[in-house]
Amino acid sequence: MRYTAYSIMVVTLYAFMEWRGVDLMPSSTRTLIPLSVRNSPGGYRSYQAYHGNRGGK
């Protein structure tokens, strides 16, 4: 009975991790890019976007 309860717990945990996409060994790193950096030239804006929005005619 204890093992049955344990099995239910294990499989429920597995289902939750799959459902929410919990990655126990992430291969990525997470950073926060400030808004100022994102909107500045050389931020995550593309090269074309940067050149296309440099202003002037």
């Binding site: 499989v11 597995y14 799959e18 990655d23 926060l32 593309s46």
Partner: protein, 619 residues
Amino acid sequence: MVCVCDYCHSLIARVGAQLEDLGHVPDLVAIDTRLALGDTGRMQKLTFQVLGRLQLHQGAASWNEWYVAWSDGSFGWLAEAAGRVIVSRRYERQVDVPEFGRLQVGQGVVLKGVGTLMIEELGDARIVSAQGELPFAPQLEQSYRFADGSISGGLYATIQYGVDEQPAEVFVGRELSYEAAGLAQAGERSWRAPQTSGRALRCKSCGGPMSLKQSSSVSVVCPHCHTLFNQEQGELDLIRQLKERFQPALPLGARGELLGHKLEVIGWTRRAVTVDNVEYSWDEYLLHGANGYSFLSENKGHWTFFTLLPLAALTSVSEREATFQGRRYKHFQRSSDVRYVDVQGEFYWEIKPDQRVRTDDYVQPPYQLSVEQTPKEKIWTHGEYIPADQLWQSFGQPGSPPPQQGVGPCQPNPYAKHKRGMLMGFGFGVALFVLFTLALAIFQPRRVRLVHQVPIADNQPVSLSEPFELRGGTQAVAISAVSDFALGNGWAALDVSLIEEETGRSNELDMEVSLFSGYTDGEAWSEDNRFPEQRLGAIKPGRYVLRVEPHYDPAYPRPFVLRLEVAQGAFLWLPLWLCILALGLPPLVWAILMFRFEARRWSESDHAGSDSDDSGDGD
């Protein structure tokens, strides 16, 4: 019809209207009994009354055969021996029984209409005394040969070989308790006849006092000088001065209760067998209680309680297994030339110190079948494992029982009781696992949210996707790349960032796309990673952009394009493997422990190293 006079013990026969004195009958032998002349019983619709008795002796034991008259006008016999009551009648059909000399213990003799009689004992007996009315004039002290055995269905039979060329007679009966035989009066008497209880004797060797707990005991050992005697009617016949003297773990006279039976230890033997110059010994106790005799075996601290079993009660017996009451017992061990090392107390059979017997043990924990065989006798017993602490407590013994070594032949596997729980838990877990996995595939399938072309060109150091939406709940995301490297061998490394526009949270990872192939020593080879995929866990819904910064082989012709896909509902393998591991680990550990226990059990058997499957006592 003859009758023994109660007063003068004369044997009187009625011949026509006259009475004829056939001589004097010796005094009755003191044999424990719960019956007396005049007792009545009932079996099914018939009643019977005890009219007389013969007392027989076969050298190893004495017993009563009570002559009974049935209410349908027929007659029969009721035998008491070692606490067993067998009610029998003469088998009236013609039987071609083999000659006595051709019979062997264990042989089957077909009795038409009844079954196959399995011979368990061959012997000869003599009538030593008589009482009351009898159907024939007993020929005192004259020996006759008999073959005793059992028939399936709880029947017993005796082939009685006549003297002086008289034809053999067959008696078929059934073993019953006194209560089942309707012998109501029997229960009112003490099991021990009052005149024989605690009978005092004096040792012929040392002169020390001895007392018999059972007047019918055949062998008795002096507690002072350790001399073995045969006893008959209080007369001791010196057999031998025993040499080695050990101390039984459970003392003689100890009283306790096992499996509902109140018992007293009245005898103890140490037995041994020598294999490859190594002596293996164990202890056997003779117990006595209201249901007669039983046995207790102690081997390396493991205790088993045995009771006698008729051979015919076994469904099948072979070298490898025996079947009893639907249970299959696997052969465990055969011991040849088993001998007595020490004997103490008293016994209902004749102890022959030089006798060698063969024993076979079959086990189905916590039960055990054992058979002890001599050329003239085959005795089956059925045993049940008794935990040492329970036995010690039951017999009120101080301290601790002898320490246990190894695993007992029929010791229950402590892990086997978890078998059902393990199977149920594992089955339930696997079913739930399959159900959840299918539900995930149905309700959270993989959905591609972005397809982004990444130009690989000198003037394109960074590529940004158009903003795209990740919808639904928090899920894993898969980012995969594809390139056909149509222009030949090459590689590209990608620094990929999935950036949430609103918060600036960025998930960064590396990917490499490559294709290498060629010929070496005339053989084609290739190494490629053309479809790499990386998974990002727990990505919240929102608006995202994909930033890709490629690095590439400067020698590779440019420009070319890599295609990246972002998909929600990616399946993560790690939780799956962890789930399988977590589900399977307890049964795996349980199975290893259980099989290790069984391996230790069977390492002591004749079949060490062979397959021994499970212990069979799972719940």
